[in-house]
Symmetry: C2
Subunit: 303 residues, 2 copies
């Protein structure tokens, strides 16, 4: 099961009733956080999710509303007695930016490993998460993230018996391990059926619409997409500041056909996103306004 | 009139219902902010006070819970179209720390002037505020702040007439200006009575008790003092981490006799500060538990 939560939905600045846009996932005891603005730790606390298992933090870009909460979060993770290494993924310069912010959080009980994204599309496998960063189009270097939980094929008992594989290795083979014993090699493909459909979530904010976004979000279980403006007449502003309108996001969703599309990163001037949803749903019916703390439990499909 | 607001009351980390400790004053169109943790801009917005007139930001010390909200606040002040210089006052190194945090807020439409405190007690006069920083005792260099609005003596019409001072100069003299006209000099002391009682507010957090705190808070209109722990048995912890219990704060108040003492900077483990107030009030009756957004309008005494 993959738990996901849209921690906040505000863009630019945190508001009393709308915290900054950030996204968190939980899978198999390991959490991934994408973006961490001022107040993201409040949103995590409000949701009741734990700070300690955050193993990876991905940054879309270095505008303050997406990273200003990092020093506070790191200290709170330290107070939660985390000692395991933390991985931070972000655009070129991520280590410098984080170290600069750490002027107020210099001592932590865990090590930080940095991964700097250099290509347009880059893939990382961490703790069962397949994370793909893809470059988008903002006024600074910015990435969207696809998070996938892949699922092995079904374990075929008859094949395992056919190859005389001892039972004690079955679960390790099911988890993708290769086993060596007495000069013999047992590989997962010997006992696993065809790969089954996994889970896919795409998070994308601070960008103009791009074909790569729809490609990444294609048939995703959830597509979280920025929609800075809902009001008509804001198209030019969206273009100028390299953001999207609700309708541009919906068009990306229409091309990608995710099970659900959630809007987020609302302009502080946008009071009620719900008001514009009728129009949005005309473009893509499975569109919803993101709300702070909105979450979903994603399950693998039945066999 | 001096408006004051305790923006938050949490210590260490912001909580969903308790933002980090910070204090703001408004006087004559100019605001002073003391400390700016993660979420302080949310508290200001919640209170409905304006970002634009913040002319001075004072930092007690550089622990993250007192400064982590600065980059976001600076950007929000910029978005509020502030263009006037901002003064930032803090312990030695303030310019370095702020510039390091500004890695995510490099471009602002206003200039920042830094004042580094070097002595144990230092005084600054800005926009009618008399701000006194006084060194306290924490595990890093830390200062408390006294904010005073001084009040000139009453204007004596009979004296002004006696000296034949033209009426057009009366208000300028009342405001403390010296006037030169046709080789004559008119000075405020010619027409003003004895200095009257002004207003005094003291804010002091992250320290062990010290005599200087009571001296500064002596007969203040408001004394805002840290009280990290209310529960009995936390005295040793308070000593170890260089904080205070509610009762230690109350003893400082007892010596200082302010009109009111508000506790703040509660430990995240302290759920209901109210529960301990009976005991606190036995030490100093005018003690109150600070609450997020608690404010006061301080008026000059009637003549």
């Amino acid at each position: 099961m993959l738990d996901v939560c849209l921690l906040g939905t505000s863009g630019m600045m945190p508001l009393p009733k709308r915290l900054l846009t950030a996204f968190m996932t939980r899978y198999n005891g390991s959490s991934v956080l994408i973006d961490c603005g001022e107040g993201t730790q409040i949103a995590i606390k409000k949701k009741g999710w734990s700070f300690k298992p955050i193993d990876v933090i991905c940054f879309t870009h270095f505008h303050a509303d997406h990273i200003s909460g990092l020093p506070g979060l790191l200290l709170t993770m330290g107070n939660a007695e985390r000692t395991e290494d933390l991985t931070i993924i972000g655009p070129k310069g991520v280590e410098n930016v984080v170290n600069s912010l750490r002027v107020i959080a210099p001592e932590l009980p865990f090590k930080i490993n940095f991964i700097e994204i250099n290509k347009n599309i880059e893939e990382f496998i961490i703790n069962g998460y397949k994370i793909t960063a893809f470059k988008v189009n903002h006024n600074v270097t910015c990435y969207g993230y696809k998070i996938e939980i892949e699922r092995n094929g079904k374990f075929m008992i008859d094949k395992a018996n056919e190859y005389n594989i001892p039972k004690k290795y079955w679960s390790r083979l099911q988890n993708g391990e290769i086993i060596h014993e007495d000069g013999k090699e047992y590989t997962p493909d010997m006992v696993l059926g065809e790969k089954r459909k996994g889970l896919k979530v795409v998070y994308c904010t601070d960008t103009r619409p791009l074909p790569v976004i729809s490609e990444m979000a294609c048939r995703a279980d959830l597509f979280v997409c920025e929609g800075m403006y809902g009001e008509k007449g804001k198209e030019a502003k969206a273009k100028e500041y390299k953001h999207m309108t609700f309708y541009e996001a919906a068009k990306l969703a229409k091309a990608a056909k995710p099970k659900q599309m959630w809007l987020t990163h609302y302009s502080p001037s946008l009071i009620k996103p719900e008001e514009f949803m009728n129009e949005v749903k005309k473009i893509y019916p499975h569109s919803y306004p993101g709300k702070d703390g909105k979450s979903l439990e994603l399950l693998f499909e039945e066999d």
